[in-house]
């Protein structure tokens, strides 16, 4: 590992090129995926929410996710990334989960329960980031990501009160779970190696994936749900 601390956007300009490129990749990835998530899942979910309470809570979730995109994009602009590179439609491919439009309320609840847990792990791994503006942004979004995962738990608790609701939620978990372990990237990722070299991130992709599967299994079990077996990403 290489010792470096970059306390500001100004200091980033004097950091090694490899470090600056790594930071840029992360900021672009977060900016794009936050926007995709808000557009593909959170905002469409408002229409599926069953009561005004659920609708406005979903509105808040959607606005916070859009807000995360705005904050990552603002940081990206500050460090010199063109805005177009932080919007969908560019070279960066979205996560595969975003290719499937939301169809039901239960699907959204399953996504909040499990996919936002994956998001929490990604943000946790940035809490000690050597680039302090990114570290601080991670700290700012963490309470909101925890609220989003809690949303998933609260509405899962509601749905599993009836056998029909539990069956629909389980079906949604079965459909979406296979995509989620892939969030954490390949086992021999060169990007991850560079992130850890510069202490931008702390853990390997495999370590994060194993932790995610363990925590997701625990949270699903709280509501009597099971996770289907999947082959892990290579």
């Amino acid at each position: 590992m290489t010792d470096i601390v970059v306390r500001s956007v100004e200091e980033l300009k004097d950091s090694p090129e490899e470090y600056r490129e790594a930071i840029g990749k992360l900021v672009i990835s977060h900016a794009i995926n936050e926007l995709y998530g808000a557009q593909v899942f959170d905002e469409p979910a408002i229409a599926f929410a069953p009561t005004p309470y659920a609708k406005w809570l979903t509105c808040r979730v959607a606005m916070e996710e859009y807000g995360h995109h705005v904050r990552f994009k603002q940081l990206g602009v500050q460090i010199g990334i063109p805005e177009a590179r932080m919007m969908p439609g560019g070279n960066k491919k979205p996560l595969s989960i975003f290719e499937f439009p939301l169809k039901t309320w239960e699907e959204f609840v399953a996504i909040k329960l499990l996919a936002d847990l994956a998001e929490i792990l990604q943000v946790e791994d940035l809490l000690h980031c050597t680039f302090h503006p990114l570290r601080n942004l991670a700290r700012a979004t963490m309470p909101e990501e925890r609220f989003h995962a809690q949303f998933g738990e609260d509405f899962s608790a509601e749905l599993v009160k009836t056998p029909e609701g539990k069956a629909r939620l389980q079906a949604a978990v079965d459909e979406y779970w296979p995509y989620l372990p892939k969030f954490f990237g390949g086992s021999n990722s060169r990007n991850n190696e560079i992130f850890r070299k510069w202490k931008i991130k702390q853990r390997t992709n495999d370590e994060m994936r194993e932790d995610f599967v363990r925590r997701a299994t625990e949270v699903a079990a709280k509501y009597g749900l099971t996770l289907p077996e999947v082959r892990q990403a290579a």
Partner: protein, 180 residues
């Protein structure tokens, strides 16, 4: 695109000022004034206004499966029509950027005000504070879309005025608006 975003930002300047000046959630549960009643009737086109006086009462109303969502669907139809007009005037990316930045700013502000109001009134479920912030930020977004579309006198103006006056319109059932 930066010029268009800048132009939209200028167009939304008066709304930003109204957002900063508003008394978000400061009059929850208080007796209605003549001004509140006028705005409530203009927003809901309703004959009756019922005032709810506590966070638990508001939460029960909002969670009730018996409350019709017809009013929500009507507002959504209005919003979509106005958004289509807004899209005809401005590029999609610029519109998304401006609306997202405005609602992000507003959301952070109103969330804090909702939390303060809940504490002042003896507390509320944490999720209910998020619900209040979601409702308020949605009203800001709806009005922003209406103004960008060039619509004057939309129902979203009177809805926003109710929120800005410290109230929270919870929903319209039949000819009655429930107001917190």
């Amino acid at each position: 695109m930066n010029n268009v975003v800048s132009h939209l930002s200028t167009a939304l300047g008066p709304l930003r000022a109204e957002i900063r000046a508003a008394s978000w959630f400061a009059a929850l549960g208080e007796p209605l004034t003549g001004g509140d009643l006028a705005d409530a009737k203009a927003y809901a086109e309703a004959a009756d206004v019922a005032v709810l006086t506590s966070w638990p009462e508001a939460e029960r109303f909002l969670k009730s499966p018996d409350v019709s969502l017809d009013w929500w669907d009507r507002e959504e139809a209005t919003r979509k029509a106005l958004l289509a007009k807004a899209r005809a005037r401005y590029p999609e990316d610029a519109l998304l950027t401006s609306l997202t930045e405005l609602t992000t700013e507003a959301g952070d502000l109103v969330h804090g005000k909702a939390a303060v109001a809940a504490t002042r009134m003896g507390g509320a479920a944490p999720a209910s504070v998020h619900v209040a912030a979601g409702a308020d930020a949605q009203a800001v977004y709806q009005l922003a879309v209406a103004r960008i579309a060039g619509a004057t006198g939309s129902r979203f103006e009177s809805k926003f005025r109710l929120f800005a006056a410290g109230r929270w319109p919870l929903g319209i059932v039949g000819s009655k608006l429930s107001l917190f």
